[in-house]
């Protein structure tokens, strides 16, 4: 009997935590989603983009500090000269940039980056054999590219040497791209992870395993990606010379975001990214200082913030800092506009009026969300802060009136509606709340839980009545949002609500071909107001992103589009040593 007790004590004893050995320049970050491998052309969500952004680089990147976001050259020398017809772009890339060392290169030494590498990377994005998730970026945009893709899909292996009219290498460090029709957002496309540059030798050498052996030009190197829950990046010894920016948004100086101005980046030697999907281990781990930065989800925000949405004293005393910034996104309940029950706009307007956004904001986002009046989020040209959408107010009587006008007094005769969503607890709560609201006007709503793939499947095959989702901007241009109600983008395209309105389409086509400027912004505003009244979706919120950083983390600013953020972060060694004792 005695031996039994000692036995159990032994387990408890060896189990307790070992002291964390820490060295100065190391960062511990969290990725809330599983990472499916590091291949630029497949980096379709923000978090795989962040990982790719540590190892690869693109022609351009968004300035880490300046808001509103503006492009700045990264591997490119400068912004490209654009020909008068807006179709031909000429690029010049920086010289002396080296790929990471890798067995793919002769004697394992990383060779110098050349213009032809970019052409190869873009072709790879278009290669039908790879069915890249980012193909929509170039689809129908570059002259001769679609024809090349068509031809290659018939052949056994894709022929990368074939000439494409749209891509012309004009020198070792210069190349030209010719578009089919003007596409002002094209430069943004060249800042997205999809179009980061890869080396042909690496792709051929590693073959199908390429996604686990990233070989880029980025600030950090990762020789082998293990499918495990921990990814360890080390500093790239022969990274090109790049400095921390010396100017930023007004107020950055005060926040200490410019203290490392002019220093050579990357500022840390090692970054360990922990892949943790469940909310509780993430949050508890952060409070034990296992991680340096955490993006708060709804429940964690509720725990960390006071009613006035300021950081709670118990966390402030540990030196933690709250970083909050509006996201350029929109959450919504989308109708399937091809479903006959939603054909009548009054039904859509009634349901939008019956949704109590203020209460939802309080319950689910602790009041931190900005109620979305229409489709364009704040921070983008075309957003008007004064515009008020009459159908976004909370007016149950008006809703009932509209519903009975549409032929369903008190909701009688209105079929039961199932709202599809991803099987996350918080999503289920949001729909249950939505159902409670709709019940007030007599419409019965059910929750439809799906795995993420099932949800995508149902949306792209129009097998749903409604679904709820949020859309984050791919690039800082309202076109990215307006395209969601543009008829040709109908499912399986990005217009999941299959909303078709010839007028809206005409206004959209006129606006998108214009370069950014007064005229285009005016067209965006008109289109935004038109869409507001049409209520293709029940607009939800533009959400605010809250993150907590440990005291010793420097230069952390929420960067919506910039996936190369890691190189700008730094660690204050003294503060870390002294504060460690507190945990």
């Amino acid at each position: 009997m005695k031996s039994l007790v000692i036995f159990i004590l032994a387990i408890v004893f060896i189990g307790c935590t070992k002291e964390h050995q820490f060295d100065a320049r190391e960062l511990h970050l969290i990725s809330p989603e599983k990472i499916a491998g590091l291949d630029p052309i497949h980096a379709s969500d923000r978090y795989s983009g962040l990982e790719v952004g540590k190892v690869y680089e693109g022609l351009f990147e968004f300035h880490p500090l300046k808001r509103p976001y503006e492009l700045m050259p990264n591997l490119a020398e400068a912004l490209p000269q654009v020909a008068k017809d807006g179709l031909t772009y000429t690029f010049k890339i920086k010289e002396g940039v080296l790929f990471h060392d890798s067995p793919a290169f002769p004697e394992g030494k990383g060779r110098e980056l050349e213009a032809r590498d970019f052409i190869y990377s873009f072709k790879r994005l278009a290669d039908p054999k790879l069915s890249a998730k980012g193909w929509w970026l170039f689809d129908g945009k570059v002259k001769g590219l679609n024809e090349w893709r068509e031809k290659s899909s018939k052949e056994e292996t894709t022929d990368y040497s074939a000439e494409i009219e749209g891509f012309k290498v004009t020198g070792k460090y210069t190349f030209q791209i010719k578009l089919v029709k003007p596409y002002p957002q094209f430069l943004y496309a060249l800042a997205m992870p999809y179009s980061y540059v890869v080396a042909q030798e690496a792709v051929t050498h590693f073959g199908p395993e390429f996604l686990n052996h990233p070989v880029g030009t980025g600030p950090f190197i990762l020789p082998k990606y293990e499918q495990s829950n921990k990814i360890v990046y080390t500093k790239n010894p022969n990274f090109r010379v790049k400095f921390y920016p010396s100017e930023g948004e007004e107020g950055d100086e005060k926040l200490g975001l410019l203290s490392d101005a002019g220093k050579k980046i990357p500022l840390v030697d090692r970054i360990t990214v922990y892949v943790i999907v469940e909310s509780q281990p993430k949050w508890l781990g952060f409070q034990k200082a296992k991680f340096d930065v955490i993006e708060l989800d709804e429940t964690q925000a509720d725990q960390a913030l006071t009613e006035e949405r300021v950081i709670k004293p118990e966390f402030r005393n540990l030196g933690m800092r709250l970083v909050s910034s509006p996201q350029i996104d929109i959450s919504f309940f989308a109708f399937n506009n091809e479903d006959k029950i939603f054909k009548d706009v009054r039904v859509r307007q009634a349901m939008s009026l019956a949704y109590d956004r203020k209460e939802a904001n309080k319950l689910f986002q602790k009041g931190t969300g900005v109620i979305a009046q229409s489709i364009i989020p704040p921070g983008l040209a075309g957003y008007e802060s004064e515009f008020k959408n009459p159908y976004v107010a909370f007016d149950v009587e008006q809703a009932k009136k509209l519903l009975s006008e549409a032929g369903y007094p008190e909701g009688k005769g209105f079929p039961e509606v199932t709202v599809q969503t991803r099987n996350e607890t918080i999503a289920r709560h949001q729909i249950e709340f939505f159902a409670k609201c709709m019940e007030k006007i007599g419409i019965k709503v059910q929750v439809g839980m799906n795995t993420w793939p099932e949800l995508i499947n149902k949306v792209s095959k129009k097998q749903h009545q409604m679904y709820t989702m949020a859309w984050g901007a791919d690039y800082p241009d309202a076109e990215n949002f307006l395209g969601l109600v543009y008829c040709p983008n109908k499912a399986p395209g990005s217009n999941g609500s299959n909303y078709c309105n010839p007028e809206v389409d005409k206004m959209f086509e006129e606006a998108v071909i214009l370069q950014d400027g007064e005229e285009r912004t005016a067209k965006y505003k008109a289109l935004n107001e038109k869409i507001a009244l049409e209520v293709p979706w029940i607009f939800g919120f533009h959400r605010t992103k809250f993150s907590l950083t440990q005291a010793w983390v420097k230069n952390y600013k929420f960067m919506e589009f910039n996936h190369n953020q890691a190189q700008y972060l730094n660690v204050d060694f003294e503060v870390k040593k002294e504060l460690r004792k507190k945990f």
Binding site: M1, L4, F7, I11, V12, I14, G15, C16, T17, K18, K34, A36, G37, D39, H42, S44, P128, K129, S131, K133, W135, W136, D139, S153, P208, E209, L211, N212, E226, Q227, S228, N229, K230, Y274, V275, I276, V277, E278, Q280, P281, L284, G285, Q287, K288, K290, N423, T451, W452, P453, E454, I456, N457, V459, S460, K461, P492, G493, S494, G496
Partner: protein
């Protein structure tokens, strides 16, 4: 003996065919088309067609079934749709963390259950017997999810006795990570194990040879540990060996919540992302291992029980 082993291995074939047909039915025929899933939200119909072609989903159903059967016998499961990695490679990767959790937990829980059931059998009918059995049953009456949430919050976070999540490779390093999930596994498996072992031991205690042993002047404890245990080991071995195949599957929930990059977490991830090749691979792997281990358990049975001759 070899005749028996050959016959049992031949028996593997129809079962494998059965398993692959069941999997094929569940995944290929009924579960529908994954292309939209893989291409993300901006897919075009054209793209989906190309992918379907590439994944061989346009092949006639019978051909697809043959692929499943081929992978069942050759263990070549191809690549995962989500991570594009070789599945066999992923299994090898996941095996280490999974087994570092499941094997010690399994061994400790079996040994502990044996101790407890012997103790309980010795004091059968008395208060202590009822009390301990009650504790074991109570232990298994709480849902695994409740244990995980409660224990992680209390022991790992509040009291800080264990690591909250994550995993380190290497012997002493991984202990603080797997200790808490292992304890939860043990608590959950004590109930059924103790119940089964106690019944088996009690069956033996009332046999005639125990009366003979008493007549020979042996003490109650020696009878229990020598005569009864030796006989009780026969059903205990078969019961324990049959559970081994499920260790390989790992503990889905435990690994997911405690951040252990094992096969369990991988399977759960595959199930959540409809990553059919991985799910199929797991189903086939566990059924093959199940059959092999049932053969192992039969052979152990004959070694343990001299009365049984392998015909």
């Amino acid at each position: 003996m070899t005749n028996y082993i050959i016959r049992r291995l031949l028996y593997l074939i129809p079962v494998l065919l059965g398993v692959s047909f069941l999997i094929f039915l569940l995944f290929n025929v009924v579960a529908g088309d994954p292309t939209a899933v893989l291409l993300g939200k901006n897919a075009t119909a054209r793209q989906m067609e190309e992918l379907r072609e590439q994944l061989g989903l346009n092949k006639p159903l019978f051909m697809q079934y043959l692929d499943v059967v081929k992978s069942a016998f050759t263990f070549d499961f191809g690549r995962s749709w989500a991570t594009k990695q070789e599945i066999t490679y992923m299994l090898k990767q996941g095996a280490y963390p999974s087994l570092t959790l499941t094997i010690p937990a399994f061994v400790i829980s079996t040994v502990l259950s044996l101790f407890i059931s012997l103790f309980v059998a010795y004091y059968r009918g008395k208060g202590i017997d009822l009390f301990i059995r009650f504790l074991c049953i109570a232990g298994m009456s709480v849902s695994a999810l409740a244990y995980i949430l409660g224990f992680q919050w209390l022991f790992a976070y509040k009291l800080g006795w264990f690591e909250i999540s994550g995993f380190e490779y290497g012997f002493p390093e991984f202990l603080p990570y797997i200790a808490l999930p292992a304890i939860i596994w043990i608590i959950l498996s004590l109930g059924p194990d103790v119940r089964f072992f106690r019944t088996v031991i009690l069956d033996e205690i009332y046999q005639d040879y125990v009366r003979t042993a008493r007549a020979k002047g042996l003490g109650e404890m020696t009878i229990l540990l020598k005569h009864v245990l030796r006989n009780a080991m026969i059903p205990i071995i078969t019961y324990t060996v049959i559970q081994i195949p499920f260790l390989i599957l790992g503990a889905l929930l435990l690994e997911n919540f405690f951040g252990i990059p094992g096969i369990g977490g991988m399977t759960l991830n595959a199930l959540n992302n409809s990553d059919f090749p991985v799910i199929k691979a797991m189903a086939i792997l566990s059924s093959v291992v199940y059959i092999i281990f049932s053969l192992v358990s039969d052979i152990l049975y004959t070694i343990a029980d001299p009365r049984v001759k392998l015909k």
